[in-house]
Each structure stands twice: as C-alpha cells, then as structure tokens.
Symmetry: C2
Subunit: 331 residues, 2 copies
C-alpha cells in the first residue's frame, strides 16, 4: 500500500500538464478521461511499451528512454501513412528510482512529442508505483493521410512493386552490441548513443507514404522479420538484395571487417530497432517518391522487388542466400 | 535478448484475435495500427494499469486480474457518462510466468469486454517479456452519451446538487484486508474474492449519468479522496453524512464490531477500489434518476449535498467529523 500524497499529484501536474500544449480535450489532466479531436473517418492507434531490462538498460538516461518510447510508436504511425494527433502515457514507476528521473523522462517525452511528432499533445495517462523494473507504455493516436482515410497496411503489396527502405539499417543493433560489451570499437561510438533512441523515419514522410505506397511496415523487429510480415500479409514473394542495404559509414566499415561481409549484413538485417519504413512502391511512382524523399532530406534506398509467389528470398551480389533461422530479435 | 519465435506470434493471435469480435478496424490484429470507428464528436479515452505487487497479489488468479483491469477502466468511463467502443492491451509479461496463465488472462479479459462492456472489441496491443512483476495496461476508448457529446466532468457540480453514490462502499477494502491477513473473519469471505475484481457500476448507468449528472467521478482512490477531486474542480463545498454510506451486510456488521462505528466508516470511506460512481445531481431530476437506477437494479444512495464554499465536510449522525489526514489509498 502506498499513500497517494497531494505532493505526488502536484508533481504529476507539474511534469505532465505542460505537455498537453493546452489541448482542450486533455482537460489540463485534471479529469478522469480525455476527449480526442473529432474524426469523421476513424483515428488510428498504435501502442508500444519500453521495459527496463528488456528494451533498455537500467543505466540509460531516462530522457532517452522516453524518446525511445515515442520513436517506437511514431515509426509505426509514419510507416502506415499516419500523423500523430495525441498521446497517452502510463508509467509503472520503481519505488527505488528518484523522482528527479521522472523529470528527465518528462523532458525527453515532451521534446519528442513537440519536435518529432509535430506538436502532438499529451492527453492523459496514469502513474503507479511498482516493485519492479520501469515499464512505460505509450498509446499514440493518429490520422491517416491517405485519400481513402485508411492506414497503409501490410497487405497491399503487389507483384511488380519495388521495395524501398528509409534511412540506414543496423546502427541501433551495433550500438547495442557495444553497450552490451559484445563489440568493442571506438568507431562505433556514434552508434552507441544512437541505439538508446534511434532516430525514426521523419514525420514528413507519412504524406508521401500515404499517397504512393501499396504496403509499408516499420522496421523494428529486424528487416527480415518485418519483410516477412509484408510477404505473409500481401501473399507474394519479396526478393531482397543484401548488398543494397543502406548503411552508415560506421556500419559499412564494420561489415567490411566482419568474418565475412555477408554474415555481417545478415546480422544487421535481423538486429532490429531501426525505426525505418520498409515500403512497397508501384514502379510508376518511384521517381516522384524519390524526389520528395530527397527534398525532405530522407535517404531512400531500393533494396528489392515483389513478384508472384509466397516467400522472402535473399541474394548477395547476384547469388542466392539461405534465409537465416532467426529473422528478427526483440529486445 | 529474447527471440520472438513464430510460436509466440501464433499464440498471441490464438489468444487475442478472437477478442476483436471481428471489428474491421482491428485488422485481425495482423497489422501495426488499428483504426477506430469514426466519431463526429471526439472519442473519450481512459487508461489504467494493474501492477503485480501494487494492484494485485502475485497469487491472484489471472482471469480476475484481467477483470480488475477492465473494471478500473470501465468504471472511469461509466462515471463520465460514456460507453466503451474499443480496447487496447499491453502486457509486460514476466519470463517466469507460465504461458497458460496468459490464457487465463485472455479469458477474463474477453469475458468482461463482452459481458460488462457491451461487446467491446479488442483493437490492438503489445506483449513483451519482462524480468519483473506483471504489468498490464488497458486503454479504453469510449463515446459520451451526453447531449453535448462531452464527458461528464469533475467540474460541473453546483450548489444545491444532491450527492449520490452507486452500489456499496468498502467491500473491496475489507476483502483486501482479509487477504493481507489484517482482518480475520469468515464473515468477510465474500468480500475477499470480490476484492480481486470488484463489480463496477453497471454500463447501463452511463446513459442516465450522461443525461442528468452535473458532475461525476468514479470512486477508486477512496470515497473521500475522490469527493475532494469534485470539490476542488467544481469549486464548492460538499457535505457528506457518513452514516448514509451504502454498505453490504458484511461491511455493516464489520462497522458495528469496529472500535467505534465512526472509525470503521472512515476506513471504508478511504479504502478505495470501489469502482462506483459519486454523482452530483440537480434536485429536480433525482426522482427520475432514482427510478431509472431502480429499474436497472442499481442501488443508489443519497450521501450528501453541495453548497457554496470550498471544502469537503463530514458529519456523523448530525455531528461534525474532522477530515482524516489520509483521504485515500492507492494500491
């Protein structure tokens, strides 16, 4: 039994109420429900959690943990052609964590909701104490930017589509390996801090994805695992060329130094937490899509194509590659 | 690092997909976002969590834990004059809990979403493993049944309103005391199982609350703590008569046997987890409101009134009672 002191209420309002950005339906976080903006077409919702010891390490700074949480969810919405409208947060807060760390968490959350999510208000939530690891859950409500007002699903890809990925793949995986002590390279220092809160596909990409993509998914479990979801739901074959994977200069150097470049690429393609979008695009729109991505400063790389069939197939420099037994990891 | 095996995906779809009740916007839980039904006025959202060791005991059966989670949230919506439309669930699942217990959890969740929440579909969620206690979070989306299409808030009470409470107060508190070994009475056995998943105000009461109440709140922190929220937000004085508190026969007998009846009543009025509604009702509608409650089989009890002022005041058999230092508990 823990007493809910007035001070705790005050602290919560001090930390969280500013994040409502004055949204009327948040009622200043002074009531028991929130009211979302009206939606003639039905809003889209994603929810994900970050768990201490599972998705982040106990010593990670909590502003970055909050950002990781926002980015996991934002990446889902953007890949579906949606933009965020409102957020809800629940925290299972360990009794042993100083309350100053909650301030850090709120700071990181607020920065990302404002800067990455286009001034997305916090509408509500719940904070309770726990004897265990910190668990933070975000519920992100968005609206689809498609003409049909439906999200871009996993199931819409068609034979003939080309397959694109935004950003780079593998930096979050490499950074985590360093932090776990399984890779030891000063050259991966950039990846290390990146891996705590990987930068997701930019919000501005939601519009072009909504306008042009047949199917799309965010790369979070691992590129091969997420590609498999597209294959299964769209009922076709996707051919991926591993040498095309977009890599940072650090990851590229790491692959070159790996036991074999192919084994390195397979690790990056199954590592997860990339928060990028894997997009199936009709050929006739790829020029315009690439032009828009370039104007937004988003790196966009063609990594494969869709054909008739029912499987994910891999190649490296024109040679077929056996699918690894493990296609993705979950932290 | 935990591998996300295909079997785990299959299990999740086996357990959770049936709870979508075929809602089209759930996409069979096979995609990354859900699409809520359209809403011209803006939907209402409440979110609450249950944490092992904080809100329930490690040995509590998980079907009842799931029901407790649904009821915490449902009680919030009903007190606000809203009916549920869709649910989202996240689970931080301890690696040491057998997966058979997840089946129990899904069973309890499904039963309550169907029977208590009016066939409310599950739209989505997330399950991840954790090293710590079980944390389950529910986001419940609803629609207000008020003419204004806004929820009944804490802030609408007016001097002259009469104050009502649904159901009974204190059984969940007494049941918990027995389970914690702090009360030992066979006569409280009923309370003991009740306290694991207290029965909330019936969904059918959302309509009359929406139609007639000036303000309303669910009693979850403790009657006096929640009454204080109404007082603070409505900026008036609420006078509560403790001898009017509606009690079960078990609680009534326990109060009579307490050190003093007043001390017993104060414990019940601050115990929390009642999941009942505390309602401020204009006098001119109380007859009709009471008639509807009766026709729905809902016990409804007048416990006080609102007057000009800025505080919560208590009386017992006409004598003023000092406000206890602790007005509510949070489990």
């Amino acid at each position: 039994l823990t007493q809910k002191t007035p001070n705790e209420f005050e602290l919560i309002h001090q930390l969280w109420a500013p994040l409502t950005l004055g949204a009327p339906g948040a009622f200043g976080l002074k009531d028991d429900v929130a009211q979302l903006p009206p939606s003639a077409f039905g809003q889209n919702v994603t929810c994900d959690q970050v768990i201490e010891g599972t998705h982040f390490l106990p010593d990670d700074p909590l502003d970055l943990v909050a950002k990781r949480l926002v980015r996991r969810n934002l990446s889902d919405l953007v890949a579906k052609g949606c933009r965020p409208l409102g957020a809800f947060l629940t925290l299972a807060w360990p009794r042993t964590r100083p309350i100053s760390q909650m301030t850090d968490f709120a700071k990181g959350l607020g920065e990302d909701l404002t800067n990455l999510c286009g001034n997305c208000p916090l509408y509500g939530g719940d904070t309770s104490t726990s004897a265990g690891p910190l668990v933070a859950t975000l519920f992100l409500v968005g609206e689809p930017l498609t003409a049909s007002k439906r999200p871009v699903l996993r199931s819409g890809a068609r034979p003939g589509d080309h397959v694109y990925v935004t950003g780079v793949i593998g930096d979050a995986y490499l950074g985590l390996q360093v932090r776990l002590g399984q890779e030891n390279s000063n050259r991966l220092e950039v990846c290390q801090s990146f891996s705590m809160a990987p930068v997701p596909t930019a919000l501005e990409m939601a519009g072009p994805i909504a306008r042009f993509a047949h199917a799309s998914i965010d790369v979070s479990d691992g590129l091969l695992a997420d590609a498999t979801h597209l294959v299964t739901n769209s009922k076709l074959t996707m051919e991926l060329a591993l040498e095309c994977l977009p890599l940072s200069s650090e990851a590229s150097a790491w692959v070159k130094a790996a036991e074999s470049p192919l084994s390195g690429l397979l690790k990056l393609a199954t590592g997860g937490d990339d928060y990028q979008a894997l997009i199936c695009l009709p050929k006739e729109h790829e020029v315009e899509f690439a032009r828009i991505a370039q104007s937004l400063g988003t790196r966009l790389t063609k990594v494969g194509r869709c054909v008739e069939g029912d499987s994910l197939t891999l190649s490296y420099l024109g040679q077929p590659v056996k699918m690894p037994a493990i296609t993705g990891w979950r932290l």
